[in-house]
Amino acid sequence: MSPEMTESEILKVRQGIKEKYDRVAAAGSGGCFQYPTGKDGMDLQGYPPELLRDFPPEVLAAFCGVGNPFSLGPLAPGDAVLDIGCGAGVDSLVAAHLVGAGGTVVGLDVTPGMVEKARANQARVGLAHVTFQVGDAEALPFPDNDFDAVISNGVFNLTLNKEKALKEAHRVLKPGGRLRLADMVLVAALPPDLSDKVENWFQ
């Protein structure tokens, strides 16, 4: 957590993020992000077209990831996978497809509205071996050494305590487990008039 943030700023950030993603859950990702979302975004990030053919258009339309964590290496059939910050569940459903019926996937998101949307998308796709639940990346509700792989797409940048969230991801991975993470990072210094604005977290 940023040491210079006050308690009221932290609350404002958490509330702002929740409200933004409640809006995304209600209205969809279109127009809420500055990069391509939906199937266009997945195509640009190299998601396998043969895999996407099995997903209804309304499920693909919910994708708002910043990259393709599956491009970092394969998931094995039978793997147990955790998707931290699953949003509308698109990556969780892709993972469920890749690990097959012998595997398990858990999608976790802090926004109840996104979890509801993920469950609706799961019903559209019809994959039974994926579950969705509400939870916080900084306090994962899972035992130690529980997953073969952890994936996440555009979420750790929204966590206030990134070290704690990474510690949690490490804790729940089995020995030898892989973290495959897509996320937004700073690539240039923010100008002074933007660098300390709490609103940057959730605009």
Binding site: Q34, R178, L179
Partner: protein, 63 residues
């Protein structure tokens, strides 16, 4: 990632998806050490591309 215990940590590449002139998507990889495995702490890091925003659908600063 190294600090919390991951090894074989890499910033593999940038994704070209920018949420502002200052931020871009990136792909990271790390492994949890397996029993009896020696740590491999060689960190590799890609350089960001100077690619323009692919879409400008929201107000500046949006993710």
């Amino acid at each position: 990632m190294l600090k919390v215990g991951f090894h074989r940590v890499s910033l593999i590449r940038y994704t070209g998806f920018k949420s502002s002139p200052y931020t871009e998507g990136a792909l990271f990889y790390g492994e949890k050490l397996a029993a009896g495995q020696a740590r491999d702490d060689v960190v590799s890091q890609a350089e960001p591309e100077a690619a323009p925003l692919k879409e400008a659908a929201c107000k500046p600063g949006s993710t």
